[in-house]
Every structure is written in C-alpha cells, then in structure tokens.
Amino acid sequence: MADDFCACSTPGGKSGIAVIRISGVDHASFLDDAVKIIRTGSDASSVSEMPGYTTALADFKDPVTGEVIDRVIISRYKAPHSYTGQDLTEISCHGGDAVRQEILRVLYEGGIRPAAPGEFTKTAFINGKIGLSEAEAVMGVINAESKRALSASGSQLAGALSEKLSAVEEELYKALSLIEMIVEFPEHDDTPENTGRVREIIEGSCKTVRQLEKSYAKGRMLTNRMNVVLTGAPNSGKSTLLNVLAGFERAIVTDIPGTTRDTLDLQIEVEGIPVTVTDTAGLRRTEDEVEAIGVERAGKAIENADLIFLLIAPDETQEDAKEKADIIAGAGKAPDTIPVFSKSDEDTNIHKDSISSYAKEKNMMDSIVISARDEESIDTVRKCIVRCYEEAGGLTGTEITVMSERHRDLLYSAAGKLGEAMSVIDDGLGIDIASSVIRSALDDIGSITGKNVSTELVNRIFSDFCIGK
C-alpha cells in the first residue's frame, strides 16, 4: 500500500449519515476486497473499475471475516479530478460511531493510514487543486488543527494511558537494550545473552498493549450500549430473571416489545453501565417455518451480544442443553457465554456437571447457579455483567480507555509486531530481526507518546551498562 490516508469527514456523534474519505494512489485495490457493489450506473463490478464521478450502492464488509458492516454509497473520483488531486473515494455510511469506527478499523488494517491534521487540504494544495490565496489559510489551519488534536490527546496522555504506555516503553527499551548491549559490545563477558528474559518482557508488554487496544472496543461499548442476551427454554427462568433484574435495578428506561413476541428488549442500567437485555426464545434447529423466524431473530440477537446467559432448566435433557451450546458455539459466541443453571425448589439439573464440562470444552465461561428469587443470585448475575464490561475495556473514572482511533490503530499494529518478535525468537531467527521488529513496535507506541526510538535506545544503553574501551 502506498501512502494512502483516510478520515471521517463528518462530525462524530449521532447523525443520519457519515462520510469517510480516502485519498491516495492505490486504495482502490484494497477496497475491491472490502466492497461488494450491488448497483451502479456503469458496468463496474469493483471500486477500481468505477469511472470517476460515479456512485455505487454497495455492502462494506470486513475482508478478513467477510462480515458485512454496513450498506453504503461509494462515490469515486479519479486523479486529477478530485478534491485532493489524487484518486479519492468517499464512503457514505450510516451515522453513529460504531459503524464509522468499524469501517475505519477495516481501512487501517488494510494499510490505509489515518490522515494527519489538515492533510486533505494540504494535499489538494500541493497538487494544485486550490490557489495561492488559500495557501496561507491552509498553513494556519494545519497547526491549529494539530493543536486541537494535541490538547485532546494531551488530556488523555496526562492520565493513566500515558503512564501505562510509558511503562510499556520502559519495559521494551529494557528488552531492546539487553539485545543491543550484546550486539554493540560483543566482546564483554559480563553481558550474558538472555533471550529468555527478553522474550518474557516482550510477552508481558504484548499483553498490556493488547489490553489497551481492546479497551477501544470498550470505549465503543460506552458510547453505545452493552448487549446482554438471555436465552434458553421457556421454563428455564429467563422471564423471572429478566423481571427481577429490571425490578431490582428499578431503572427501566423503556419497555419496547420486540417485533415478534419472541424477543423482548429491556433498557436497564447496571452499576451505571447502560445495558440492553434481550430475552430470546426458541434457540434450536427447526423445520417449522413460523418458528424459524423466531429462531433467526434469536440468532441475530446472539450474534450482536456482548454477553450471553444460557439458562438451563432443572428438568432439561442433556441433549437439549448441549444442542443450545452447539448453536451458540457455532455462531462463534462461546467465549461470551455463561451457562446458568436455574434452581427451583432447591433442585438443579441433575446433569449439571456433564453440561458444564461440555460448555467448558466449547470455550464457554464458568457456569453459575442461581435462584431467581434470591438476591444473592441476582448479585452474581450483575457482577458477571460488570466484569464482562470491564474486561472489554470500557470503564468508569479510573479506567484506562483508548479513545482515539489513531491510538487504537497504532496499538493494534504494535501488538501484532510484538507477537511477531516472540515468534522470531522462538524460531531462533537472528536477534537482529527481533530487534528490528521490536523497534517497529516502539515506533508505533512512540507515535503516541512522542519518543524517538534510536535516541532513547542509545541513552538506555549508556545508562544501563558499563561498557567501553
């Protein structure tokens, strides 16, 4: 990918539509993988085939998972007939942060970088698209915009994120200076080769960076709502649980009936976390057409869930329970699922252990046992919701959350590189390569904290080791 860049050109927050703009020389080839054209005025079947000044109705999907993110309008401009004078593509998608951010994430992962402040206008100027008289204004805008960006990131960096990233940097410099030390001063016997220690440090840092990167997803959850799904047989205690949850919290915002009687959405708050609880029925394979509609809706709810409670009735057969677990696992949602055994009159399902271990095999979380009328049980459920929310990364006050897309993008890239550094070490490739990959990761992190790798590294070597002739 050449140096193509993108940004959302419409303001954040809720809006009818949002426009994401991409400029550069070869983003079209990437978009061909992410965009499936449904209808357009020309014969074009891909973005790169679209003539300039045409539009297309299309599905925008994640080329890795194949999952459709949104139905969008693509507007295509060809160099030099575009705002920037380069090839330019505009994606008009539905408004709201989630869609916008998902599309940007896909673009970043495809190697299209976030635009710098004022970059579209600057590129337009460099390519002769806007006149001399506007140039002065452009120059003013660049620093003004970056100042605004800085103060936004400034307040963030002043806090916990900066502290955490600095700690990661510190660790990585330690790993790197261990490597560099033996590279720069190989004749010294008192600098043992310690790749084990280096790997250990990288592994720890990689974990932290991934957590931080994931916290962006949580930040996203904060701006939307957390989706919790209750599923299971009609007599498994779902409705009781739902009512008690709602009643206990006394915070029902709305009570919107689902489009069919198969689902019911409740808007509640759990310890300040906005949650949508969806009650689904009919989670099973069926031939019956009417029931199939309900099952499909349940499937949708499960797909979009952040947390699923799979309720198992005291009298449910092992086969039925396992089938439900299979359906959830088949949708790839097992890791977000907690099996819940409901008690009635002190009886729980007699196959509890067998079902639990089956669920565990499928990668589900540890099961819990509740009695819907017991306050302690409800507390357990609430704690599960809070824990899931916290693990996803979005938290209250003291929590470290990555809010900027650019930061998330850089962390994502850094985590990938640290993972690679570990495999380089494991494969016994040269430590020159390991070092190069770790430096790239530090470059990414340094783009957030503003440090220059090679200066920092040389200082580290000098301060940590006693060396020299």
């Binding site: 004022g118 660049i142 190989p186 020159d432 090679s454 040389v458 020299g468 002739k469």
Partner: protein, 645 residues
C-alpha cells in the same frame, strides 16, 4: 586574514598553489587527501609529524560493531582504510556471528607501526599529492571572511587553494592530563596545533571543547599469561576491502592472540582511595567526555554496584612487546596507575611503557555544517573527523572521504555527494552530527541506524560502489568485477526461486540437521533457505544444478533470501523516508516569514537551515505539523516562482 594580507607579512612567502589543502594526516585527512588527489586535483596534505601519519594513538584495532561496517563502506566508495587494514592485520574476527547477518561486524587488530608506515608509503605514491610536515596556523579567506582561500604555516609559508579540508583530530589547543600533571601537547606526546582554532572562531565558526582518554601501555615481558584468558582470531573472515575480496585476498593466517582479565577488589580500592586526585572529579578537566568510553574510575563511580570490570590486553604489533590495556583508560596520577596495573592478575610485575592520560581539545560545532561537511559559515571550508565531534578512527575516515569527495566535486563543478541514512552508516553518522549535533564525542553504534537490516557489512559494495564510481574513485576494472558479482547474486537468487525439489529421503535427512522437516510436496530451494537454520551450503546434495560460486556471493544470496520479508518491510519504510529527503529546501528561506510555523520551529529551522524536509523533520522541536506547513510553503514558493518566470 586574506591571502594578500598574509603575503604582506614579514617573512611570509607564497609556497604553493593547490586545488585542495588538507591539514592533518590522521584517518580523516588521509582519506580526504587521497580522494582529492585520486580524482585529479592538485592536493597537499599537512601533518604536524610525518612519522605519525594515520597514527593509532588509542586502541590498536580497526573495525568492530558499526565501525567494521563503516570501513567496508569507505572501501566501497573507493577509500583506502580497508586495504591498509587488510595488509596490517595481526588478528581478525567477525563479531556477532551468532546474532544475525545485519549485525555481523569485522574487527582487526593492527600492527600499529606498520599501519602508519604503510599509509605513508601508499600516499607518497599517489600522483598529484604532496605531503608536507608543517604546522598550519591560520585559515586564509577572501577579504569578507566568507570563503576559504588558503592557509599560512608557522614558518610564514602561504599556500592557496580552492578548498581547504581541516582534519585536526584532537590536536587543536590540546592538553593532556594525568593527575596533577598537565601538558600542552597532542596525543602520544606529539606537538599540538596552536592558533588554528582561534582563527576559525574569529571567522564566526561556533567552537566546542571535548575530552577523551587512553589507557596505559605495558611491556609483555613480565606478564604471566597463564593467569589471563586467551582469545584467538579467526582465519575465515573476509577482508575489509571488497576489491581484495573479489581478487581472492586471504586475511593473515598467522595471527596473534588477545587476552582478557578482570579487575580485582584491590584495583577498586586503589581507585576509590585516590578519587580526589582524578582531574575529572577535582574539576581540572572541563571538557565533555564520551559515555561509551568511560575511564576506569568513572566506571567504578557510575556503576557502583559492579565490583569488577573486564580489561582486554591487546598486542600493538609483531615487532614490539608493547601491549594495550583496553578498558583501563584513566587520568589518575602516574604512581596510582602503576599500582592499578599491578593489581590485575598476571600483571603483578608488568612494566608500564606509556602512561594513560585524558586529553582535551577544541572542535567545531557540527551543527554549523552542511551534510556535505562544508561549513555553512565559510564557503570552501570542509571539516572531517574528531574536529566535528566524532570519536574513533573509522568515524573519522568516513567523514574524511566524504569531505574529500565533496571538496573535489565542488571544484569540478559537479553535484555534491550526500549519503542518506537509508544508504549507509556513513549517512547516519553525518546526519546525526549535522542535524542533532552532539555533546560528547560521537561513536557510531548499530543501534543508531533505523535501517540496520539493510545496512549490512556484506552489501556495502552493492549500496555504495556505483556512487564511488560516479565521483571517480572506482576504477573501470573494479567496477566490471563489481557488476559481475552483482549479476551473479541476482541470477543465483532467481535460480533458487525457480528450482524445486520434492520431499525425498535425502532432503529429509538434510532438514533434520536444521531441526526442520520435509515439506508435504514440492518446494523451491529459496523457500527451504528461508527456513530457520537451513543454509545454502547444506542444500548442496539436493541442488545438483548448482554452479560453483565464491563465498561472498553465496552468503549474500542466503542473507537476501532469509531476510527477504523483513527487507521488504524495511524498504517500504525507506521509500517513505526518501520521499521527504528528496524535497529540497532553498538556502534563502526566511522562516520568520512563514506564518503557520510555531515559534520554536521557526527558531530551530532558522538556526540549522536544513537542506531538505527529511533533515528538517529530524530536528528536535520541529513537529510533523510544522513539516506540513513547510511543504505547503515550498509549493507556494515554487508556484509563484513559476508564475513570475
């Protein structure tokens, strides 16, 4: 002072008219003079003492990490350091053999006297080069003091030239210090350079003062080598010079060992109880010393938790018993030095032949230089080596060849040579010095290079020989050999990518040695080489179509294949980097008039006057947004110039 005024002085006379004057015949001066004379310019090289040309006053070795890469780069451009070092080596090693080709670094121990004598003999044979023992007192300029026009020596001899290259090393206003004894002299008791520094300062060139040091030398006679750890050299190391390598040169087979030993608690105690007599800590020395080359007392102070340090004992040559104690640099008084040496195991009875000392010297602030190493203050004046704040023979020689080539190109009216950070360690070295400056003697380290996987010692010729040819330092015969080698590498890589083998029993056995397993089906030899621990040589039995190729070619092929994926990523980064390097900034830009720049950026840019946007982006205090503003400004300017014809 201008030439006319100099000639009007009593006792002065016009001694010679040259194209280029080089003052100082250390490693920088020798390369600079050689490059100028070899490219057809009438050149004179001044030295304070003719028998100390290319002296190695500190450690008797050339190469090492990052420095070995520099030597190979100098050779690839057509310099001489590598060839002389190949001839005078008494021990060679390839450092970092187990750490990956990107950090392989050749290092050689020199026969110190022979090195100096060989360099002198080599230069004496160069056509168009005069060598003269004299002390240069002053730089002569035009009446405005803005252009170099010659020099005047202590005896009043006036020499004129179109360019002057100053390579004064550590000699300008030098003082050597050991304990309470201070001498106004250069290294090794040689005379210092007096007056030149003041002459440069009077022209408005910003000056600095640094310090460095060197350890004691002992006689090997009374050393008990039984108590030392022996380290032998390696005979399968390629020579520094690519030309030698292509001609089948073999490095010395009869090599001398080096030795190592650890300091004892007694050493530590002697140093501790004499700390108050160290000029560094008593305040006698004010110059700034290098962090990577601390004196032994410095090591004990700064790393108090370490109770011992390793000392290396290296031979100074085949015809001398003198040995060098690497890691034992000190400026403590002589009597303390004797005790310190005797506290080392095996050296209890060793006799010191030369004292250790610290040395202070004047230098030019490298921020006042263009990347061509020409002064921004005085046109036609070039500086190279320790005068620019570097340390080390190799760093000096690297700058010497660049300054010499650029002086020559300027006189010949050709495009200057600027080597960037993505092309060579030489580029990293010079860019660091002229863009970031330095507050201690600057040592080259591989960690300073952003594109280390690409800047390897093995491919220095591929990176730089074409440039060496352009400037006129590579002979046609050598270039022909180079092109053959380059083509052989490319052809072999292509062949390996297109030669397939199946999962045979033979292949399985071979792969087992590399703890690898047979592929499920056919696989190219190139893909096999990319596997960890699989080597080119190992695959010989299954590669029946293989032609005999020399090792420099097969090793290069192996590295290029193994690192292909990582090199591709690095080359993408380099392409981005190069984009900014290509955007030149005219020298007359008035940064104060550019509205969008932040105040700090305006000041820094105005002071440093970077030559391109890449250099501007590396100045501390200049932000990416400032670079964007500059880019817009440059475009605006280009357009208005176009409009105004």
């Amino acid at each position: 002072m201008d030439v006319k005024e100099a000639l009007s002085r009593e006792g002065s006379y016009l001694a010679g008219e040259y194209d280029v004057i080089v003052t100082g015949a250390g490693h920088a001066g020798c390369e600079a003079a050689y490059a100028c004379a070899k490219t057809g310019l009438k050149t004179i090289l001044f030295t304070l003492f003719l028998d100390s040309i290319a002296n190695l006053p500190c450690n008797p070795s050339i190469g090492g990490t990052a420095k070995g890469q520099l030597v190979r780069e100098i050779d690839a451009l057509g310099g001489i350091m590598g060839k002389i070092a190949d001839k005078c080596a008494v021990q060679m090693r390839m450092l970092n053999r187990s750490k990956g080709p990107a950090v392989f670094s050749p290092r050689a121990q020199m026969d110190r006297n022979r090195y100096s004598a060989s360099m002198k003999a080599e230069l004496e044979r160069v056509e168009g080069l005069d060598i003269r023992q004299a002390q240069v007192k002053e730089l002569l300029t035009d009446p405005e003091g803005s252009k170099a026009e010659g020099v005047i020596t202590e005896s009043g001899a006036v020499y004129t030239a179109k360019a002057v290259v100053i390579c004064s090393g550590t000699y300008m206003e030098a003082r050597t210090i050991r304990g309470e004894v201070i001498c106004e002299s250069g290294p090794d008791g040689l005379p210092r350079s007096e007056g030149l520094s003041a002459s440069l300062a009077s022209l408005g060139i910003p000056m600095l003062r640094f310090k460095t040091g060197t350890p004691v030398r002992i006689n090997s006679g009374k050393v008990d080598f039984e108590k030392l750890t022996r380290q032998d050299g390696e005979t399968d190391v390629p020579p520094f010079s690519f030309e030698n390598e292509m001609n089948g040169f073999r490095v010395a087979q009869d090599q001398m060992p080096c030795w190592s030993v650890w300091t004892t608690p007694e050493t530590r105690e002697i140093i501790r109880s004499n700390m108050h007599r160290s000029p560094l800590y008593s305040g006698v020395i004010t110059g700034i010393g290098p962090r990577y080359c601390p004196s032994i007392e410095d090591k004990f102070v700064r790393f108090a938790d370490k109770d011992r340090h390793q000392i290396f004992i290296e031979p100074m040559g085949r015809e001398t018993s003198e040995m060098y104690l690497q890691g034992f640099s000190t400026s403590l008084p002589e009597e303390v030095q004797v005790k310190m040496v005797h506290s080392l195991p095996g050296l209890e009875n060793a006799v010191i032949q030369r004292n250790a000392y610290a040395i202070e010297y004047d230098l030019v602030d490298p921020l006042s230089l263009y990347p061509t190493l020409e002064s921004k203050v005085v046109e036609g004046l070039f500086t190279a080596g320790q005068i620019n704040g570097s340390s080390g023979y190799e760093e000096a020689a690297a700058q010497g060849i660049v300054a010499g080539i650029n002086a020559s190109l300027k006189i010949r009216g050709e495009e200057p040579m600027v080597i960037d950070r993505a092309t060579a360690y030489i580029g990293v070295l010079i860019d660091d010095l002229v863009t970031k400056g330095t507050n201690e003697p600057y040592r080259m380290m591989t960690s300073r290079a952003e594109y280390r996987l690409f800047l390897r010692q093995d491919n220095a010729d591929l990176r730089l020989t074409p440039e060496g040819r352009r400037v006129g330092l590579i002979s046609e015969e050598r270039y022909r050999l180079f092109e053959m080698k380059k083509k052989a590498i490319e052809d072999e890589i292509e062949r390996l990518k297109n030669t397939y083998t199946g999962p045979t029993e033979l292949l399985g056995q071979i792969l087992e040695q590399a703890s690898s397993v047979n592929p499920p089906s056919g696989i190219s030899l190139a893909d096999l080489i990319r596997r960890p621990h699989v080597t080119y040589d190992m695959l010989a039995p299954v590669d029946t179509g293989r032609k005999p190729l020399s090792e420099d070619i097969t090793k290069e092929v192996e590295t290029e294949l193994k690192y292909e994926g990582y090199l591709k990523l690095e080359k993408e980064k380099i392409a981005k980097f190069a984009d900014l390097e290509r955007k030149l900034i005219p020298s007359d830009v008035d940064y104060d008039s550019i509205g969008g720049l932040r105040l700090e950026a305006r000041q820094k840019l105005g002071k440093l006057r970077p030559v391109n946007l890449g250099q501007a982006s590396r100045i501390s205090g200049v932000s990416p947004a400032d670079i964007s503003v500059l880019m817009v400004y440059l475009e605006m300017r280009r357009r208005s110039e176009k409009e105004n014809g």
